[in-house]
C-alpha cells in the first residue's frame, strides 16, 4: 500500500536535499494519482473495521427489515406478508404494555440518573476528605456485569429472605411485595438501574465540571450569589454539553434495558416489567416468532433514531462531532 507513496518521496530525496521546492511543483501534475493512492491506502486501513461493520451490522440491519415483512414458521422465514407483523403490533396489548413500560422506565430513570449524577459530581468536586475513595465506590457498580448486578438485586429484594424486607420487618414495618406486585417490582428495577448507572453520569459530569474556570465562581461569590444560585446559574448551564451527551446516552441505555429485567423479573409479575427489548427477545428466542421479534426490533430502532435526531436538531448550535 505505502510502497508506492514512499518510493515516490524517496525519488524526490535523490534529486535534491531541499525537499520543499521539489515536492510542491511536482505534486501538481501527479495530483490525481497521488490522491488515488492515498485513498487506496486509507481504505486499506479501514478495511478490517468496514468489513466487520458491514457484515455484522449493516447487513443484519437490512435483513431485520426484510424479516419483519415476512412470516416465520418457527425456525426460518417463509412467505412475504407485507405489513402484517406491524398491524399485529398495533393490536397487541403486550406490545403496548411493553412500550408504555419502556417509556415510564425512561422517564423515571433518565432524570434521576442525571440529577443524582450531577449532585454527586458537585459533591465529589468539592473539598472532601477521602474523595478519591468515595469516587471509586460510586464508579464501581458500573464495571460489574449486568447479570451479577441483577442477581444482587434479586438477593436484596427477595420478599422472604431479602435483606431489605428483613430490615423493614425488623423496624416493625410490613415487607414490600417486590416480586408479587407490579409497581414494587418496577421500583426495584429502577433502584438497581440507578445503582449501576449513577457512576457513569457522575464521571461525565465531573469531567464537565473540571472544565469550568474557578474564577467564575469567585466572581459570583463577590457579587453575593448563594451556593444555590451559583449551582443554578453557573454550574447547570455550564455543564450543558455533558447533559446533552448524557441525555442521549441515558435514553438509549433505557430504551435498551435488558440484562437487569431479564434476570430480576423476566418481565413479570404478569407483564408489569416487560419492556420492548425483553418482549422482542421472548418472541425471537422463546416462542420463536422471529419475524414478529424483528418488527419489534425495528420499532426500537426507529424510536432511538427519532429521539436522537430530535436531540441533535435541538442542540445544533453545539459542535458535537469533532
Amino acid at each position: 500500500m505505502s510502497a508506492g507513496t514512499s518510493s515516490r518521496e524517496e525519488s524526490t530525496d535523490d534529486t535534491g536535499p531541499p525537499p520543499s521546492p521539489a515536492i510542491t511543483p511536482a505534486a501538481a501534475p501527479g495530483r490525481a494519482s497521488r490522491r488515488q493512492r492515498a485513498t487506496l491506502a486509507a481504505y486499506g486501513f479501514l478495511a478490517p473495521n468496514l468489513v466487520l461493520l458491514g457484515v455484522f451490522l449493516f447487513l443484519p440491519l437490512a435483513w431485520a427489515f426484510l424479516i419483519s415483512f415476512q412470516e416465520s414458521n418457527g425456525f426460518g422465514a417463509s412467505g412475504w406478508v407485507g405489513l402484517d407483523n406491524y398491524r399485529r403490533l398495533v393490536t397487541d396489548p403486550t406490545f403496548w404494555r411493553s412500550a408504555l413500560n419502556t417509556a415510564t422506565f425512561t422517564l423515571l430513570t433518565v432524570p434521576l440518573s442525571l440529577a443524582l449524577g450531577l449532585g454527586l459530581a458537585v459533591l465529589m468536586n468539592s473539598v472532601l476528605p477521602g474523595r478519591r475513595l468515595f469516587r471509586t465506590l460510586i464508579y464501581l457498580p458500573m464495571v460489574i456485569s449486568g447479570v451479577a448486578t441483577a442477581l444482587m438485586g434479586v438477593l436484596l429484594f427477595d420478599e422472604a429472605t431479602g435483606i431489605i424486607n428483613k430490615l423493614l420487618r425488623g423496624g416493625g414495618l410490613a415487607g414490600i411485595p417486590w416480586q408479587s406486585q407490579g409497581s414494587a417490582a418496577f421500583a426495584s428495577i429502577i433502584l438497581v438501574t440507578l445503582w449501576i448507572r449513577v457512576g457513569f453520569n457522575m464521571v461525565i459530569y465531573l469531567a464537565g465540571l473540571q472544565g469550568i474556570s474557578p474564577e467564575l465562581y469567585e466572581a459570583a461569590r463577590l457579587e453575593g450569589a448563594t451556593s444555590w444560585q451559583q449551582f443554578r446559574y453557573l454550574t447547570v448551564p455550564l455543564v450543558g454539553p455533558s447533559t446533552f451527551f448524557l441525555l442521549i446516552m441515558d435514553v438509549i441505555y433505557s430504551f435498551q434495558i435488558f440484562d437487569t429485567i431479564f434476570v430480576m423479573t423476566g418481565g413479570g409479575p404478569g407483564r408489569s416489567t416487560s419492556v420492548l427489548v425483553t418482549y422482542a427477545y421472548e418472541n425471537g428466542f422463546v416462542t420463536r416468532d422471529q419475524s414478529y421479534a424483528a418488527a419489534i426490533g425495528i420499532v426500537i430502532f426507529l424510536l432511538t433514531l427519532s429521539f436522537t435526531a430530535i436531540q441533535w436538531r435541538g442542540n445544533r448550535s453545539r459542535d458535537t462531532v469533532g
Partner: protein
C-alpha cells in the same frame, strides 16, 4: 490558613456525611454478595436479619467448582474477551488513524456512517445476526460471539479523537524522510498512542467480559458458556441457592474489579473522554 466560619464547617460536615452514606449504599450490595458467598446455607435461608455470617466457609466455592464447569467458563470468558479485544483495538487504531490523518475520497460520509452504527441497538439485530451466524455455519461456536462483538464503532471514534491531536508536523517530517503511510503509523503514531491503547483495551475488556444478551443467543453448549451465561445457567439449575450463585458471581466479577482498581485512571479517562467529544 484563614479562619473557618462555623457555617462552612457545618457544610463540610454535611458533605462528608452525605458522601459516607452514598458510599455505604453503593457498597452494600457488593458487601452482601461477598458475605453470602462465604456463608453457610443455613444463614442464606434464615428469616432473621443477619449482617455478618455465623461462620465463614468455602463450601459455596467448592460446590460451584465441583458441580459446574466453572473453570471452563472462566477460561471461555478469557479466550473470547482476549480475541475480541485484540481484533477490536487493532481495527479501531487503524481506522482511527485513517479518519484522523489520511485524506481520501468519501471520508466525511464514511465517518458519519460509522458513527451512525452506534445508534443501532444491538437488540434490533438479534434475530438477523442469529440467522447470519447460522448461515455462516458458526452458530454455537466462539466465533459467533467474537465476530459480531468485534464490529464496534465506539472505539473508532475515541481513536480518531486521540490521533487527530497528534501534530501534523511530526507526520510531515516523517514523510519528508521518506516514510510511507504504514511506517508512519507503526513508528510515529502508535508509540504516541499508548494511553489511547490502554483506554481502548480496558473499555473493550470490560464490555466483552460483561456482555450477556448476545452470548446468550449465540451459544448453546454449556461447556462453551461465558461466565455471565454460566451464572444464569447456575441459577436455573440451583433455584434459590444464593450462596452458590453469589460465589460464582464473585468469581465472575473479581477480575474486572481488580483490573478497574489497578487502572482506574485510564478507565475514568476513557469514559470521560467519550463524554467530552
Amino acid at each position: 490558613m484563614k479562619q473557618i466560619r462555623p457555617a462552612q464547617r457545618v457544610s463540610a460536615i454535611a458533605r462528608l456525611v452525605t458522601a459516607v452514606v452514598v458510599g455505604l449504599v453503593m457498597m452494600f450490595p457488593l458487601y452482601w454478595m461477598v458475605t453470602l458467598a462465604f456463608s453457610p446455607n443455613a444463614d442464606v435461608f434464615s428469616r432473621e436479619l443477619r449482617i455478618w455470617p455465623s461462620s465463614w466457609t468455602l463450601d459455596n466455592f467448592r460446590t460451584i467448582f465441583s458441580s459446574f464447569p466453572t473453570a471452563t467458563w472462566f477460561g471461555n470468558s478469557v479466550v473470547i474477551t482476549a480475541i475480541v479485544t485484540v481484533l477490536t483495538v487493532t481495527g479501531n487504531l487503524l481506522a482511527g488513524y485513517a479518519f484522523a490523518k489520511l485524506d481520501f475520497r468519501g471520508k466525511g460520509t464514511l465517518f458519519l456512517l460509522v458513527l451512525s452504527t452506534m445508534m443501532i441497538p444491538v437488540q434490533v439485530l438479534m434475530v438477523a445476526q442469529f440467522r447470519l451466524v447460522t448461515e455462516l455455519g458458526i452458530y454455537g461456536t466462539f466465533w459467533a460471539v467474537i465476530l459480531p462483538s468485534a464490529a464496534s464503532a465506539f472505539g473508532i471514534f475515541l481513536a480518531r479523537q486521540f490521533i487527530i491531536a497528534i501534530p501534523d508536523e511530526l507526520i510531515e517530517a516523517a514523510k519528508v524522510d521518506g516514510a510511507g503511510t504504514v511506517r508512519i503509523f507503526l513508528q510515529i503514531v502508535l508509540p504516541l498512542c499508548k494511553p489511547l491503547i490502554a483506554v481502548l483495551v480496558l473499555l473493550t475488556v470490560m464490555y466483552q467480559w460483561n456482555d450477556f444478551a448476545w452470548p446468550l443467543i449465540a451459544l448453546k453448549d454449556s461447556q462453551l458458556f461465558t461466565l455471565p451465561i454460566g451464572l444464569l445457567y447456575l441459577r436455573g439449575q440451583y433455584g434459590a441457592d444464593y450462596g452458590a450463585i453469589m460465589a460464582l458471581a464473585l468469581v465472575s466479577i473479581t477480575p474486572i474489579i481488580v483490573m478497574f482498581l489497578a487502572f482506574q485512571k485510564y478507565f475514568v479517562q476513557g469514559l470521560a473522554r467519550s463524554g467530552i467529544r
